[in-house]
Symmetry: C2
Subunit: 204 residues, 2 copies
Amino acid sequence: MTADSIRNAALFHFAKDGYEGASLRAIADEVGIKKPSIYAHFSGKEDLFMHTLVHAFHEVQRHTLEYFRDHAHLPLEERLQGLLAWFEQEYQDHASARLMLRNCYYPPPELYSQVMDLVYPFLDGMERALTRLLQRAIREGDVPPVPAEQVAIAFMTFLDGITVEIIYGSSRRYKRRMDAAWPVFWNGIHSLNEKAHPIVPEGD
Amino acid sequence: MTADSIRNAALFHFAKDGYEGASLRAIADEVGIKKPSIYAHFSGKEDLFMHTLVHAFHEVQRHTLEYFRDHAHLPLEERLQGLLAWFEQEYQDHASARLMLRNCYYPPPELYSQVMDLVYPFLDGMERALTRLLQRAIREGDVPPVPAEQVAIAFMTFLDGITVEIIYGSSRRYKRRMDAAWPVFWNGIHSLNEKAHPIVPEGD
DNA sequence: GTCTATACCCGGATAGAC
DNA sequence: GTCTATCCGGGTATAGAC
C-alpha cells in the first residue's frame, strides 16, 4: 500500500532531520512519487507526522514486549542489564526508536500536547511494567526485597542516562558508562532498606 | 553593543525553537532592528548560531565553576546532590543552559561536527573535574575510598537521567526521580569495593 | 551601521486534467 | 491516485541609498 511506504519514508526523514527539518519533497522522492500525491493519503505534514509517530510508538512497544517475553527465563540482573544493550541495538537498527526518542525530548512546539499524550502514557506504562517485574522477582526470590516502585523509577533514570550516550552514537562512550554506572545501580538498590552505609547485601 | 544584543535575542529563539525553527526576522524584531542589519554583524544564520552556542557553553561553564566555588565548604553528598537541584534552576533561569542541552542531543545536521567539537570537551572536562573533586574528598576523609573515575562517570550518567525530566519540565516528575534515584546512586557508590555481590562484567 | 527594497529559493498546500 | 502547474508565504541573503 502506498500510504505505508510514504509513512515508512517519512519515518527515516523525521527521525534524522526532525519535524521542521524534514521536507515532503524529499519524502516523496524517496517513495518515487511526486509531492502532491502525498495529499491523497494524508491531509498534510502534521497528519503524516502524527501517523508516523504513533506507528513508531507502537513498534517500539511491541519490540519491548518481545524482549521481555524472550528473556523471561534470565535472572533479573541480566534481564535488566540486557535491556540496555538491547535498546542500544534497537536504536541503531530501527528508525522508530530514533524518532520516538527525539520527539520525547524535543517535540515540534505546535504539536506538543498531542505528542505528550503519547509520551507520558508510554513512560508510565514502562514504569508500571518494571514495577510488576520487580515485584514478581522478589516473590520468586530472584532478588532480596527491595522497594519495587522506587527501584523502577531509579532504573528509568539510569536508562535515560545511558540513552544519552546512545544518542551521541559512540559505542565506546556508551560501553564506558555502562561499565561504570551499572554496578553503582545494582549495588545501590540492594541497600535501600538499610540506612547506614557499610552495605553488606545479606542473605540472597 | 548591537552584536551582543543580537546574540542575546538569538539565544532565546534558538533555545526555544531550534536552529531550523528560529527565524532571523523574529530575532531582528526582538532587538528592534530590521532583518538585514543582522548581516552587518554576522555573516549569516550559521555564523550567528555558532557564536551564540559558543557563548552559551562558556556561560554554563562559568556558572558551574561558580557553583563549585561557592559550595566548596559543604560535605560531598550535599555538594553533588545540590548540583542537580542547581542545574534544574539553571535550566529554568538561563536560556544558555537550554540551548546547550538541546544542541548536545540534537544539533543541526549541517553543523554536527562543529557542535560536537564543543560538546565532547565540555563533557570530558566535567568528568575530569568531578574525578578530581572526588579524589580530594577521599583524601580529606569526606567519603570512604571509592574508585573516583568510575563514580564520576556514574554521576554523569545519573545527572543525564535526571536532566531528561528537567527537559520535560515537570517539577513533580523531576522531584520524584530525584527522591527515588539519589539514594540508589549514593548507596551504590559505597559498595563498589566490596565484591559481595557478584557483578558479571561481560567477557572482554 | 542601519535602513528600504527586492531577489531568490524552497517550504507546504491546492486546482484540475487524466 | 497520480500527475503538471501554480499559488502563497516564509526563509536567507544582497544591493544600494542614507
